[in-house]
Each structure stands twice: as C-alpha cells, then as structure tokens.
Symmetry: C2
DNA sequence: ACCTAGAAGTTGAAGTTTCAACGAGAGAGA
DNA sequence: TCTCTCTCGTTGAAACTTCAACTTCTAGGT
C-alpha cells in the first residue's frame, strides 16, 4: 500500500524512453501506412495479411490462424478480408475437413500487388527505423518485444471470449 | 534496379525483430487500452491527453499543441476532446490573444480521474514492457525511437496539409 | 444416438479515426 | 486599407475497428 515512489513510477529516463516509443510508433505506423496507400492503394494491415498468405505453400490460411498471426480480433479479420475480397486481392474458400472453417486465399492479383508493394514497405522500414539504429540496437528492440509478446500472448483472445 | 538482395531485404534476424516489434506493440497498446477502460472507463488516448494537460501549470493546452505533443491529427484531437468534454473531463475555453485559438482545460473531475488512473497505467507499462527488459535494454529502445521521432517529426502534419 | 460445451466465423450497430472541405482569424506586404 | 496566404479548429461523411449477439459445426462424454 505504501510502496516507495520509485517502486511505482518510472524514473525520468524511463519515462522519456516510453514517450519516445509511443510517439515513434505512432509516427512510424502512420507513415508506413500512408506510403503503402499512396503507392499501391493498400493499407498496412492488408499488406501484412498478404505477407502471411504468401508464406503458405498454397497462399491460403484459415481465418483464425490469420487472426492469431497478426494479433487481431477475428471480427477485424472478417471485415478486412471482406474488403480485400471486394477489391480482388483474396478469395474465400471452404476449409477441408471442418465445415465451420474458411480459408482466405491470395489471388493472382493479390500476389502481384504484394510483389510490387514489398520493396516500398521494406524501404520504409529501413529508412524510418532499421537504418536509424545500429544492428545491435535493433536486435535489442526485437529481443525486448519478443518478451512482450510472450508475456501478452497467452490470454489474448477475440473480444467475444471471456476474460 | 539490380541491387543485391541484402541491400533491399531485411535479414532473417532483422525481420524477426521487426515482427516482434509489430506484434508486441499491437498486443501492448491493446492491453494498456483495455486495462484503462475496464478500471476507469477511459481510453489510452484520453489518458495521454490528461497527462499532457496535467503537466501545464494551468492544466490547459492549445488544441494544436496537444495534437503535436501526441502526434495526432488535429481532427482527431477535436473529436476526442469533444467526447471528453461530454463526459466532463475537459472543457473548452477561448485562447487569449488569438481568436482562432481554443484551449482544452482539464476539469477537477479530469484531474481526479488522472490521479486514480495513473497507477493502473504505470503498473501496466511496467508489467508488460519495462519490467521485462533490463534497464539498459529499455533505454536502447528509447534511444532508437528517439531517432525515429527525429526522422519523422518534420513533415508530420495534419491530413489537411499538403504533402 | 444424444446432449452439451466450446470453437469458427459472421453480422450489424456503435464507437473511433481519417479525409476533404470549410469558415474565421492572423499576418505580411503593397 | 486591401488582399493574399497561411494557420486554427471544426464539420460531416467515409473508412475502419470494436463489441455483443448469433449460427453453424465439432468434439467429448454418457
């Protein structure tokens, strides 16, 4: 109940680091999203979905796995895939062996768009983040956020689930 | 046109770090937002606005400065402050000396809420991020994102501005 | 076979952010 | 003073996400 202040609050440097992280992330994600939209008329989320699909041998993935891979709610994936289907980047097919299941499949057009958009995206990531840090420092960032993922992954579910 | 692959793409470890950062950030911001909403019925954005206001001697800040401090669009600030005004956390007053200007002022109720919510928020930041890394590693994160801010800050404007 | 708990995915409404356009005032220069 | 350009902040619609409810199907027990 009466923990000392420095057990509760962040010190000045930690607080500064936290703010830099929040602001930097806000600016970075905003920028990467805009760059993709302007160059290829696709959002960062849609781009990331295409990346995951492209990593599968058949270019397809169950909706739930897509949601887990991106840490998005299932509802969000449903809506986003619906939009992408309407622009011809993916299609929906039934999953074999589970009649509840739906597979999102990348179309040829989706694959072409990804091939085009990938250099734009990677250049942005390099220019606005990776290229600004030493290799070692960037790997530290990766290490820290690996732990964040581990800590927060269990217990992350769709909003419909109990908590 | 024919740059070597490793001039364009990230290597495996960099890519892994990038994904950890994206996923970790998604999970982290989602979690911090939920914790504040559940405990105090306030979003992370609203919380951050209250923090900035509380740092001013008179608890008020021009809309534009608020937008800049949070790296949000002016439109977003307008909408968010409107919601906060309707729940009694802030009020709007005219800025002196510039009849275009609007000040967002923290109410007493806003200040009380912030005092209550701050421990929740800081505990979350500690538990899900700061406490998972060594002090040195976390400062590296801050250093990296400081550079990201510097690089992206100039040229960050409201969506209405030319680009 | 039957029942039940839970998972998969969708739906539509509510909430939030972005986008483009706008009105009003400030400020510099002729 | 007049005018031109720019900034401030807002507006309402479109785009996107969250939320809660729902249907369908699976899987495990009896």
């Amino acid at each position: 109940m009466s923990a000392r202040k420095d057990d509760i609050w962040l010190d000045a440097r930690q607080q500064q680091a936290w703010r830099a992280y929040i602001m930097g992330t806000t600016l970075l994600l905003d920028r990467l999203d805009r760059e993709l939209r302007q160059a290829w008329d696709i959002s960062l989320i849609e781009y990331e979905i295409l990346v995951r699909l492209s990593e599968q041998p058949d270019g397809s993935l169950r909706m739930a796995l897509l949601a887990d891979a991106l840490c998005h709610s299932r509802s969000r994936i449903t809506h986003t895939i619906a939009r992408m289907e309407s622009t011809g980047l993916v299609e929906r097919t039934a999953a074999e062996g589970d009649r509840r299941g739906v597979m999102a499949v990348m179309t040829e057009r989706g694959r072409e768009l990804l091939v085009n958009a990938a250099p734009t995206h990677v250049a942005g990531v390099r220019e606005h983040l990776v290229g600004l840090a030493t290799k070692a420092d960037f790997l530290v960032v990766g290490r820290v956020f690996d732990k964040v993922c581990d800590q927060l992954m269990q217990g992350h579910d769709d909003a419909t689930d109990i908590r």
